[in-house]
Amino acid sequence: MTGYDVKSPTRRGILAAGGSLVVSFSLLSRAYSQEGEVQPTAPPAQPKAKLPGSLSGDPFLDAWIRIDAKGEVTVFTGKAELGQGVKTALIQIAAEELELDPTAIHLVTADTTRTPDEGYTAGSQSIQNSGTAIRHAAAQVREILIAQAASRWQVAADQLRAENGMIMRADGQSLAYGDLVSDTNLHVEATPQSRLKPASSFKVMGQPMRRVDIPAKVTGAPVYVQDMRLPGMVHARVVRPPRPGATLGALDASAVETMPGVVAVVRNGSFLAVVAEREFQAIQAMRVLEGVAQWSGGVKLPKPDGFIQSLKSVPSQEGVVSEKGQTSGVAGAKTFQATFTRPYQIHGSIGPSCAVAQLDNGTTTVWSHTQGVYPDRAAISEMLGVKPEQVRVIHVEGSGCYGHNGADDAAADAALIAQAVPGRPVRLQWMREQEHMWEPYGPAMLTEVRAALDDAGRIVAWNYDLWSNTHSTRPGPAGSLIAAQSLPTPFQPPPAKLSISPSGNGDRNAVPLYAIPNLRVIWHFLPDMPLRVSALRGLGAYANVFAIESTMDELALMAGADPVEFRLRHMEDPRGRAVIEAAAKGFGWSSDELPEGRGRGFAFARYKNLAAYLALALDMEVERETGRSRITRVVAAIDSGEIVNPDGIRNQTEGGIIQAASWTLYEAVSFDEDGITSMDWSSYPIMRFGAVPESIDVRIMDRPGEPFLGTGEAAQGPTAAAIGNAIRSATGKRLYDLPFRAEKVKAAIGV
């Protein structure tokens, strides 16, 4: 799994842990697994100590932290900066426990040659996993340095403290970290326990420290993979078929080969690309190459009309997500039943995917904004037919990806093209239309709720069925890559498998957090994927929370209760109650009558039922004549556990709300039998400034000492539901089918 061998537990490790160390590996995996990872089927031979966060995968401290003789501190993370501010947060964590100024930390992010393998930067787990690992590693490194100084000074360790990159004695003598490292071995395994600093002593953690990456981004520094310029670099463009699976026929590329600046036309089976010296030359050559390429065959897409409804009748496998009590035959005073749908939706990264690759001396180096450098390396090396060590993948920022977008495929495209021009770095940039058409989408979903209330207005039974593809087809295997699927002997996409796990996939957040005595949640897993799908921010949580929280409002109406009070009635988790109350109070939630055309909506969810808690309330205006709706005001409350950077939490939450609002009001992939028809921003519009709310107020709960909770995806599902609830409030009509385009809203309103 990593470049570092897992050694058997050291004597120190055993002594430090004390007691029993044997914890089932499968339990560890379940707690920390991320979507796309294959579940292990048997425990390993060696029992492992339970280490916090990603330390369990990379237990050696110097995998995470190195200090040189000059005292320069380098921190390594297997996570990547996606624009979510993780670099800054990790620096804050390391700086805090290492007692250093943040500017003294040099952070190295995901690189298969240099950093731990932390899988994907996904699932809102970076702080939970990498942050936890780094925090503990930093604390342990600090204690090791103290112990080293104690040994050198022959004093007790508890007489010393770390401060500003130095170990200090009471009498003022100090030893800089750099002076201690020569005698200090950091190539030791972490221990399960660490002496963590208490929140009351924090200087850096919990502070809204400014993002380390923003100044460069606003002054035009070369920050993104799109900005890379290497000596001898050439520009490439791929030519993709009109639909997936089409094969390339005979090709006369002579007209293209003679165009100005063209270095090569690369054809490998049905993989087609052109390389040129200058970027615009590559684009012009691509356009001509598109014209001469003849394609045949390919996958016929389903007819769009009635497609989502048809999800119920295609082959499926049933997975029981959760079962409690007895849901059939439960006597309820009132029942509610509804079907909700969600279309395919795109990531829509504002900068289409890009990668730079260079084949040099048998090693292919790829610079990519992939979320997973290690898995992408494995897939690319498999595709190229070489050993993984012959491929190096280094993360360089791209634009926001929001999940599995075209990055991994662009990396594979670049790697494949690089084989054709050895020695020269190849910059491969996807076009806007290619990103829109070839990125994997968030899957279309259909969900059905049947719920029953008793006389006292409490939910007594809850049946939830969801129909969905897998929400992760990340590489993984080479067969997940478009380039590999295009080769003369194509790699086949691996069949998707149903997997029920605590953090969920299509079933993410399918189980309400509310106290419901009788409950049955089933995932009707759909293995067949007529459109390419994978992980989009929130995964199943977006559609599942939309359905659950819309239902909660309907049940509240049936019970004659206020929507907020009704949720509190069923919420036993005190932290859930706290965000619900905070959002309602901050918003000024009431049941006062609203003027015509205005509505208010509320929603709550705990992301994955494991990560951050979020509640939000919003105001909407709905135009009766046109069906146009607009959010005016949002107040949200979020509990992310111990706060590393409150501004980061706020930024991510505001962003998640606006993005999810855009999905909810406007977005659906359009297609016909011949292929995808939503290929740019005119055919797939997203929210523009004119439609953005007037205000968004995010309140953060203060939870010192609590574990970090994943935050970046917490807003998606609740936003959709709150909008649906607000439209219901404004018009008296419930909408069940996303997105809530004007046509649907107007049809619900009537004349």
Binding site: G597, E625, T626, S678, W681, S683, P685, A691, A742, V751
Partner: protein, 459 residues
């Protein structure tokens, strides 16, 4: 006759004439009525009224940019001054809340408001007079169930004598033929329906027929095309400049969806029209299309051949772009600008509504003047909000007068077999300098969404 007697007779004639005119012109006030309770109005009637209101494009004139629907306040420039649309919401004080059904019907039929004042024909009652009583009742039911908005419209900016409403009676005597539509029994139902709608509520002639110096439509030039607010409304009779001739089928699709593969997208003042027609029964759009297509007439051999040639040229551009480019007429800056800034979208590889029309098929390029192209190139086609729609960026910050003239001349030469325009430079200069003010419309006409009440936007 002695001068004094002459004077006396003259005075008598004037007074008698004035009195006669007054008697002719004066209209009574219809008593104000209580606003009808929305619940008292038949919902089915109101629903029918909403369709008719869409056909009549009421929202387009009676909604100001960023204003409330139907609350008026849109300034309509005319050669006589600016007229502001009235509030036709059911507000009792500032709208038509106190208008009885009879008062409403009279306003449509005779162009007279409840108080008896003549209305300016900027409100096209010369067309709306055709609307039947039954349809007017539906419109009334629709309007009376809208949200009442208290909004006093801006006063008209008309100088003497145009601000004397009574004189409009004279205009009506000369140019207004009052009376509801009477179907021609010798013609099929669809034709009659098409004629009823096109000449009535849709008031196509209000833009597509040129007007005389009194602001009345020239009856002898029915559907010959005109210029309205610096957008050219093309001829929709036999003189239609469309390279591929329209027929009932293509026209119906265009009116309903706002675009057609062989004609382009509806933009400018036509955008709200197709946005509205997208929300009415298809049969109505088809009927209008059939009627107009008949007026255009069957294309003769020469026109058909030209249409085929345009389609063939388009195919060549798509299938052999390099060859087409090499063989394209025109060197120099116009061709270079076209190749670099326009061709990427307008090659025709990607068809409307989301791709640019290949200009061999463009009515604008083949039309009588380049004004519409100037408008679109300078100000772009802003996307509809939140709906898939055609869109195009604006080039006004990068093209100067010389460059735009060169581009237009190149387009005309390469994509049309018509003679060069003679007024290109004048129009370009006037538009860039702001002397010709252009209203820009969002491209809601190409969406499937319910129409926005106002699509006007600042450029």
């Amino acid at each position: 006759m002695r001068p004094l007697r002459l004077l006396a007779v003259l005075a008598l004639v004037l007074v008698l004439g004035g009195a006669a005119f007054l008697a002719y012109a004066w209209r009574s006030e219809i008593d104000p009525a209580d606003p009808p309770a929305p619940a008292s109005l038949d919902p089915a009637l109101a629903a029918r009224g909403s369709e008719l209101a869409a056909i009549g494009n009421c929202n387009v004139c009676h909604t100001a940019p960023n204003g409330e629907p139907f609350a008026g306040g849109l300034g309509i420039p005319t050669p006589f001054g600016t007229i502001y649309s009235t509030n036709i919401t059911p507000d009792p004080e500032t709208g038509i809340g106190r208008w009885s059904e009879a008062a409403f019907i009279r306003s449509m039929r005779e162009g007279v408001d409840r108080e008896g004042r003549h209305l300016y024909p900027a409100f096209p009652y010369d067309h709306f007079t055709l609307v039947t009583d039954e349809d007017n009742r539906a419109l009334y039911a629709f309007l009376m169930t809208r949200r009442a908005v208290a909004a006093t419209p801006t006063a008209n900016e008309l100088s003497f004598p145009f601000n004397v409403r009574l004189l409009l009676a004279g205009w009506k005597a000369l140019f207004f033929k009052e009376g509801a539509f009477r179907p021609d029994p010798g013609r099929p139902a669809e034709w009659n329906r098409g004629r009823y709608l096109a000449e009535g509520l849709s008031h196509c002639g209000a833009c597509h027929t040129p007007r005389n110096r009194f602001g009345a439509e020239e009856a002898t030039q029915h559907f010959s095309g005109a210029e309205v607010e610096n957008w050219t409304a093309y001829a929709i009779n036999a003189a239609s400049p469309a390279p591929v001739p329209w027929d009932a089928e293509s026209l119906a699709a265009y009116l309903r969806h706002g675009w057609h593969e062989r004609h382009g997208v509806s933009r400018g003042p036509m955008a709200p029209v197709t946005a509205n027609l997208g929300s009415v029964p298809e049969a109505d759009a088809r009927a209008i299309a059939a009627y107009v297509a008949e007026i255009m007439g069957q294309p003769n051999q020469e026109r058909r051949a030209r249409g085929e040639a345009a389609l063939a040229a388009t195919r060549r551009d798509i299938e052999a772009p390099l060859a087409a480019r090499a063989g394209a007429t025109g060197n120099g800056i116009g061709a270079a600008i076209y190749a670099s800034a326009c061709e990427g979208c307008h090659s025709g590889r990607r068809p409307p509504p989301f791709g640019g029309l290949n200009l061999h098929l463009s009515t604008a390029v083949n039309g009588p003047n380049p004004q519409n192209i100037i408008n679109v190139v300078l100000f772009g086609l802003p996307a509809a909000k939140g709906e898939p729609s055609a869109m195009m960026p604006a080039y006004r910050s990068v093209l100067n007068e010389d460059q735009l003239v060169a581009l237009l001349e190149h387009m005309r030469e390469r994509f049309s077999d018509r003679p060069a325009w003679t007024d290109t430079r004048e129009r370009v200069a006037a538009t860039i300098r702001g002397e010709r003010r252009i209203t820009v419309y969002r491209m809601d006409g190409t969406t499937q969404a319910p129409p926005e009440s106002s699509m006007r936007t600042t450029p």
